[in-house]
Every structure is written in structure tokens, then in C-alpha cells.
Amino acid sequence: MKLEYFQMIDRVASLEGEAIVVESTIPEASPVFEGHFPGYPLMPGVLLVETMAQASGWLLLKLMAFERMPFLMGVKEAKFRSFIGPGTPVTVHAQRLHDGSGYAVTKARIEAGGKRICDAELTLRIMDFPAPELAAAMKARGQELGLA
């Protein structure tokens, strides 16, 4: 993970049907941990949501052959069950629950050491790429992840 660049996904472990499993390691050091919290560094819950959204996003990008872009627009039933700190490897599971017209709904969770850290239901709006640079960047990163 590179928290300052919002790059939350390190590698794709598997993608089968409408479900993806990705792996990442929370960095040992980041300015984020200087504020959250001094003397007790914790991965912020909002960044855990972002991580689940990105796993969902890569899944949807792959299912749509990188032709359209998913944007996070709703988070429901988010539960943060355990603290998680720097240097922790995590596994992120995301599954498409519903393929709507112009939107998709996913269910995602993060685990560390076999223990559930958090989970949520996410709604993503599906749009045409608003900029060619974004489409190119997503495809390039998708190729690095073995998805594009």
C-alpha cells in the first residue's frame, strides 16, 4: 500500500466469476500514522473503506473489460471489528452482489491473520471514463495487477 497515493491494492490473489481476492500490506511508516494516532498508529477506518472500494473497483473494471469506470457513491452496513496497525498483511475479498443499470453493488471484507477486520456493502456508480488520462492510468495499473 501507498497510503499517500491512495494505492491500496498490492496484488490480485484470485478472480473467479464475480469475486476477487486481493492482498496488501499496510505500510510500516506513513505520515498518516503521525496523526492517527500519536503513539498508537492505527489504519484509519476511512482508508479501510477505500481499500474495500478499490478491491470492488478492480473487480468491476475487470468484469467491464476496462470500458467504464466505477466510482464509490455509497457505503452501507460498514463495521470495523478490530484495530489494525502498520506492517500488517491483509486479504481483501469483494463480490458483486448486483449488476444494475449505471451502478453496481458489492459486498467486501478485509481479513488479517484469518480474522475479520471490517466489512461493508458498497454502491458504485458506473460511468464512462471522464478523462482519457484516467482510462489509460487504470489500464496501466490493471496490467501491473494482471487484470488488463
Binding site: M73, G74, H98, D99, G100, S101, G102, Y103, T123
Partner: protein, 93 residues
């Protein structure tokens, strides 16, 4: 079973701040009920699940924006219910 109108009105009341008794057959979902785009997608998701269909919101919006269909055809409650009935019938074949 409740009518499609009643089922959709119940879904709207459950997924927005609109009171159920304010939702009438001639209510425009956006102009009269004030449903915003985020709440509307939640409502569409609930309709998709409840009726087992995929409401073609993108195609409807494109038609309205292109001027090939009036917004009322899709977004006035009684017409929305009729469109849902058509989608359910089409799926049943």
C-alpha cells in the same frame, strides 16, 4: 399482492425521507418528491431486487436528455409503475 404502485411507493418511503402518504400516482419522483440521484439509485436497487428485474435507468436518462422521451414517461409514479410492470412481463416472456 399489493399493486406495483404500492410496492414502489413503499420502497421509496423506506429508502428516502419522503412520507408514504405523500407519494401519489401523479407524483414526479424528482420534481415533486425531491428524490436525489443517490437516493434514486438506492430505490432502483431495491426495485431491481423486489421485482427481479434490471431497471434500465441509464437508457431512460439518455432518452430524456436526448429529448426522445418525456421525463414524465419514466419518472411520474403511475408511469414508473407501468414501466416496471412492462419489464416484469417482458422478463416473464
Amino acid at each position: 399482492m399489493a399493486s406495483s404502485f404500492d410496492r414502489i411507493a413503499d420502497i421509496i418511503a423506506e429508502n428516502s425521507e419522503v412520507e408514504r402518504d405523500k407519494i401519489l400516482p401523479d407524483s414526479h419522483v424528482i420534481n415533486d418528491l425531491g428524490i436525489d440521484s443517490l437516493d434514486f439509485l438506492d430505490i432502483v436497487f431495491a426495485i431491481d431486487k423486489a421485482f427481479g428485474i434490471k431497471v434500465p435507468v441509464e437508457a431512460w436518462t439518455q432518452e430524456v436528455n436526448a429529448g426522445t422521451a418525456p421525463a414524465e414517461q419514466y419518472f411520474v409514479m403511475k408511469n414508473l409503475a407501468a414501466r416496471i410492470d412492462e419489464l416484469v412481463a417482458a422478463k416473464a416472456g
